[in-house]
Assembly symmetry: C2
Homo-oligomer: 259 residues x 2
């Protein structure tokens, strides 16, 4: 299949710019709602409304594509053939609800199973990380300096809190060998940290829409994206994933007790 990567990239940037504007408005509305029950309903509505908006725009621009998305407005996708868009309308919902910052919206595009283009908007900072292996990586219009291949001891790691606290897979051993643990609570925000060298590893249990955009971008930056038992990543299932510099991912796989 012939696809124009640059065109898809430009489409995603334009779309997420609009999504960012809407979500910043939604974030203010959310604050003004009185009771907790109403607030929770509203947040679910924001998630659904945003996904509907994104999926509709994708279907208009790429009617041949299939969509895998979180809130149920996507397609029933059984294989990765053709053009597949993965959509996470609000990533870091708890941060959206409780903090009003450090949440993201993400779209990852794959062609016949291969990572093509990813785009992530840090909504409150209004910065879009986007691009792919073919066309390069950017924050808005600025090319990203590819981060160094640092070893574990030289960087901070970000691990989902439940996993870190329960010491799943002996993950606290990985923390001990690193510069320290951070927990930011949104995959999209953390992918941004990895792409700018602020952190060297992310580990979490991720659904396809949590991982898709970040995988495209981090692989294009020369990083490793591996499942915890070193089996191939399956983009149609959830799995525990390590994303990090090549050195860190290799050290982590050796340290973790996953098998």
């Amino acid at each position: 299949m012939n696809v124009d990567s640059k065109k898809i990239d430009a489409f995603l940037v334009e779309l997420l710019t609009q999504v960012g504007e809407n979500l910043r408005e939604d974030s203010i509305k959310k604050m003004s709602v009185g009771t907790k029950k109403n607030r929770n309903d509203l947040v679910t509505n924001f998630d659904k409304k945003t996904e509907k908006f994104i999926n509709t725009r994708i279907k208009e621009a790429y009617p041949e594509a299939t969509i895998v998305s979180e809130e149920g407005y996507g397609d029933l996708v059984k294989d990765m053939s053709g053009l597949v868009f993965f959509v996470d309308p609000i990533d870091g919902t708890m941060n959206f609800v409780k903090r009003g910052d450090d949440f993201a919206s993400m779209i990852g595009v794959y062609i016949d199973g291969e990572p093509l283009i990813g785009a992530i908007i840090d909504v409150m900072d209004n910065e879009i990380y986007h691009g792919g292996k073919e066309i390069g990586l950017f924050i808005d219009q600025t090319p990203i300096d590819i981060p160094k291949n640092l070893p574990l001891i030289e960087g901070l790691v970000d691990i989902s809190a439940p996993m870190a606290l329960a010491n799943k897979f002996d993950v606290q051993e990985v923390v001990k060998k690193s510069s320290g643990l951070r927990v930011y609570g949104s995959a999209g925000i953390i992918f941004g940290h990895l792409l700018t060298g602020k952190e060297v590893m992310y580990m979490s249990y991720l659904a396809p829409w949590d991982l898709a955009a970040g995988r495209v971008l981090c692989e294009a930056a020369g990083m490793s994206v591996v499942s915890i038992d070193d089996s191939p990543i399956n983009m149609l299932e959830s799995q525990v994933v390590i994303v990090g510099t090549q050195k860190v991912a290799s050290e982590a796989l050796k340290t973790l007790k996953a098998r």
Copy 2:
């Protein structure tokens, strides 16, 4: 002793504005230094240089004051009588070194042992949280909306990573009763989150300079600042401290096994 709180507040804001400019330059210089050893020396130098700069300016403006500070340029302070300035030149040193963001510089001022004025600059965002009980609380020139007295279940908690991972004092029970754990790695940055309602509790082992400014600001915002065994805060010693909404601090004290 008669002191002009507004004048001290204005002095701190002006001083931290200058410190912020210097540290943003230092952060760029740091990145360009080649070897790790040189980099570590440089960071230590930035810490010392910044403290020297701050302490010199305090001594010029308030020669009668005593200074408690991290890097050794302060006074040997044995009691809290008179005007005492607590100085943390770079708070979140690991974030400064590894991330280049989410670090702070903090000054807390006490009079005869009573919290008077605090000021914290989020260096990379260039925002100063400042004020006190008497004069009110501000981010730069904008008054802070006092955060709601939320219960634990409604908010995110930030706990030092080593404490959370080791489940010290059964602290993971507190996490389970909350909306979730975040780890941002800088007391100053987290005090900013508490003051804007983004998080409802911070717990860590803090030295006097780590706590001083945040204690002034959070108490002025109606929050609780308590030692983990509910004994009075001692500003001349390090201790495990809980800072949070009144409801959260009370729930945490009941939940933790500290005695």
